[in-house]
Subunit: 339 residues, 4 copies
């Protein structure tokens, strides 16, 4: 941590900051520059609230030096984590790129089975589908609940696909863990800490979506909550951020894939459906995500998007998925990976 004093800070004011720094168990190292005095604070104390020091008189700013997360960082574990998912133990995070697809919500046996077969046939490794749906409006379809989970399990039985489904509250962790292969935390829940802690006690992979305005540090700290509670099998998922852009539902910052690969050992996948909000943009952004180095994708695919109960605008058809998978394979190979 570096404390920068305002110009004109007196000796007493500098000493006062040194005292506060020492109070927090940190060693001080004062540097007198041409215009400013700077106090370097030595010691590994991630728990000190830098804000407290910022409130001392004549402090201009406090700059943290250490990353706030540990267990999620490459500093602690240098080789990439490979997380096996589903009955066929697909190694996510390996050289093989894993594609998960399926409808936004489980709506009926027909709809889900049709989806699952199409997804399998196209070469995907996982089936997505929401049984509990977090909806912006209380008047929207809220999901089929446990009934939906049973259908997902049935689809796995038939196809061998890994089941990926969302858990929206602490109270559902148990039931979702009973049926799912991968438990998904939605973007709105990325900082719902009681849920993260509960998932830290489950022995199944967690797919953690980035909050729509989360900084990467906050994203990795959310992962850290799960890991530090005992579950190291965290898959990070970039799904777009909220910006001023209005032609998309979210802006998809693929740079996050490269930056996360530089900072963490956890696998990183991309959701091009929420990341764009429009079916016509999904194929190009899926391709770009694989080219950017994503370890996988999670794509919304519905047999009849015009009658979907949710996310119709961003769901592609099975025919589109089929065509897309062929292209993704070629691009993966062009960067020395495979599907």
């Amino acid at each position: 941590m570096i404390v920068v004093m305002k110009p004109g800070a007196t000796k007493e004011q500098i000493q006062h900051v040194v005292d506060v720094v020492n109070d927090y168990g940190l060693k001080d190292h004062v540097i007198y520059g041409t215009d400013r005095t700077v106090i370097a604070c030595l010691g590994d104390k991630r728990s000190v609230d830098k804000g407290a020091i910022e409130n001392a008189p004549m402090v201009e700013k406090v700059v943290p030096i250490l990353a706030p997360y540990k267990m999620a960082s490459l500093e602690v574990k240098r080789e990439k984590s490979i997380i096996e998912i589903g009955p066929e133990r697909f190694p996510l995070g390996s050289n093989k790129v894993g594609i998960i697809a399926g409808p936004c919500a489980v709506e009926s046996r027909e709809q889900l089975m049709a989806s699952a077969r199409a997804v399998k046939k196209a070469g995907c490794i996982g089936l997505r589908g929401g049984a509990f749906k977090p909806r912006t409006s209380p008047y929207s379809f809220q999901g089929m609940g446990e009934e939906g989970l049973k259908l997902l399990a049935e689809a796995r039985e038939e196809t061998g696909l890994a089941v990926v489904t969302e858990v929206i509250g602490l109270e559902q962790v148990e039931v979702v863990a009973k049926y799912a292969d991968v438990l998904q935390v939605g973007a709105r829940n990325m900082q719902h800490y009681p849920l993260l802690e509960a998932l830290g006690k489950v022995d199944k992979p967690v797919l953690l979506k980035r909050g729509m305005s989360a900084r990467l540090d906050e994203f990795l700290l959310a992962a850290e909550y799960i890991i530090s509670a005992g579950n190291g099998k965290v898959i990070l998922c970039e799904r777009g951020i909220r910006t001023f852009e209005e032609y998309v539902r979210n802006t998809l910052p693929l740079t996050a894939v490269a930056e996360l690969n530089d900072k963490t050992h956890l696998p990183v996948i991309v959701d091009p459906s929420h990341g764009t909000g429009h079916a016509h943009l999904v194929p190009s952004m899926s391709t770009a995500a694989v080219a950017a180095g994503a370890d996988g994708l999670i794509i919304e695919c519905h047999p009849d998007p015009e009658h979907a109960t949710s996310d119709g605008a961003q769901s592609i058809t099975p025919a589109s998925l089929d065509k897309l998978m062929k292209r993704l394979k070629r691009v993966a190979q062009a960067i020395d990976r495979d599907l």
Copy 2:
């Protein structure tokens, strides 16, 4: 809902959209313009997913006409809701502006009592203080739990201040409702629907903070979750949004106060502490918020900000609060309100 077709849409494509619109129970009204065909969809159906229609061939965009919320809107209830809070039944939403203040977290009896007395003496009507703390990092102080709630109740006993404190998960609703006068939903939980629904069943006011990247419609829909579950006593709180600005923790859009006053009957308050992140900006933004028409403020105030366990940078001292309250009173009177 208005469906705008792309130029060059054929008769069949237009008819297809009309069919889909009718499938959803809406009546169509087709308008053939110079360049575009537009289909107005008549009927009060907030539950139709406009995205589904957007996926039909040659649809350019779908524009919703109705606001997605009802019970929170001025259309349903035209006069402002007044919500009484605390043992002294302060009428929030009336002509009187109510100021709530206190530390970010309850840290000890000494710290809390010192805060409560200062807050009372300055003329505030409520005491804030977190007993359960949602913290970005798992390594930060997580709050005193029920012990903290008991201290808050004790402070109310002595001062008569209304106790405002956060509930961070479904599982704490009962215990927090036992001690608090107002249950706060933090910005990170604005879209945690199970929690909102549970609070809809509590007979106490809920202070709902705007998510840091929530649109106003989403904010009002979150309120709608609580109201439609049975609890109409919702207080909206603007606490700043995430933007590219880096000299503040959040950008405080006071326009939201005026716009919400134009859209909803619910009282609207402002949190200038999170809304700026820096103690030196709190007084001017508090003053501006009252001038903009806020029904109240919630301010972080700590007897010793340099040693606060959280939010030290944005906590003002009791002496600052005292001075600020005098100014707020004058400004309130200048716009024909009072403190």
Copy 3:
């Protein structure tokens, strides 16, 4: 400047950075911390591109310490600058708050004279009105040009109001300076450096609008261009930033007023018209801006907004302006200022 090395940086890599730092004429001061090595760079060199050093191997980040601007800063000039404007030499930046109002564009003698009289009668000190209009679309009304400037001068003649009008290119500086009292740089031109330099050679006040996504440092650096070219009479104007909010044309961050007052001696005014985009939000945000400490406002006011050639949505009527001015006076007095 502080250079933070990645963990695991070798002695050679640290020495290499020290060499680069020395190449730039800076002295190094190396601090070996628990996890990281940090290199403090001493010397007043605002011109070094920190990016260059960031590219050296094993550098994690480079943190600048000095503010990049000098002449605009409070460090160089501690007392507030008072800038006199118009024939009546209104002291902007003094304890008196100055209100400028008028139409977006000069459309005709009738429209401008009606506006000017209303603006004067309401108690404003300046008349705004565009003669050269920067328009997003080439198909929109582009302004009356010099004819408009002449009308503005005529209005000043009659009313004594200061004329504030925009200059959109280098080639118009001369003609605009001939007629106007204050030369306005629009938000789109905040970083058009040739224009800023040209205005640095004019002996008239410049009203510099913040770019819609400019950081405060960039805003002050734009002012620095004008000041360092010879013209210290720069008025800063906050006019809203682009964010994800969609109920407003721009998000108006009044915190910028307080922060700028903390960083620069230049007067700071607010444009609540562009800052909101909607007439119904202008009164409350005008009031809030004065309460936040603005030295002035610039408001769009049109005798017939429904037929305005531009910015009709955000223009208030003369009757609204009249009522608003009375309220602003009371609020200014409540914070010990005046109109």
Copy 4:
């Protein structure tokens, strides 16, 4: 244009809006819905200021239907425009992807020639390099001016590369057009209309960068300024937008590539250097951009980034460029294009 009335609008208020609509030369078509009345306005009038109508009493909002641009749109010209650049007439917009690279600024003959040879050798088709530099700070290096242009021309002579360089003001159009093959408009100048109009009269391709907070409509309207002034050879360049993300200089929204391909016939290229701000992110984002369907890239490459006068952090070395080009070729081929 669709005018949505507020609920409770009276017959007279609706008639008033109809009158205003008619005043603007548009035909009205009134639709009485369940809750709202909506007025569809028929007629091709891109020049009407929708804001003016928004100001009429009881109007809730005005929704534009037509895209505001024409000549840049696919509606006017359905096949992709191919723009030939440089002495070797590289067809930008064809199936071949064109890579432009070079230093941020021309610093010396040695630096430029070394760059040009490396760029040529790697297989690029254009050389970038700034002779006039728009710099955020007046204290930064401002470029070599015409001397730099001469060096660029010399480099073209030797290598056959197309010269791409920025023109920062109206007054330099002539001199830059004398030496350059492609005239670049920087992000800060995207809405500097006098410059756009002047470039509309030049018979050379213009590379137009998207402003860092420009919406796509505004970007295409900027292109429309150039085209409608007479020059149809406009190349669009996505270079990143400003968001809350702080680990990058800008957030690079590759979705813009796909969306622009859906809206305009103009070629679209990507600048991964400004789009990330960090050399270590450039290779993955270059690859992703090609995969997303970009017609070209413009990359900053410097023989000695640690001593670059500007943009050192985001410049890759010749060795990196070389390696990257091989990968780009394979990815282009995987999507049935080529380099």
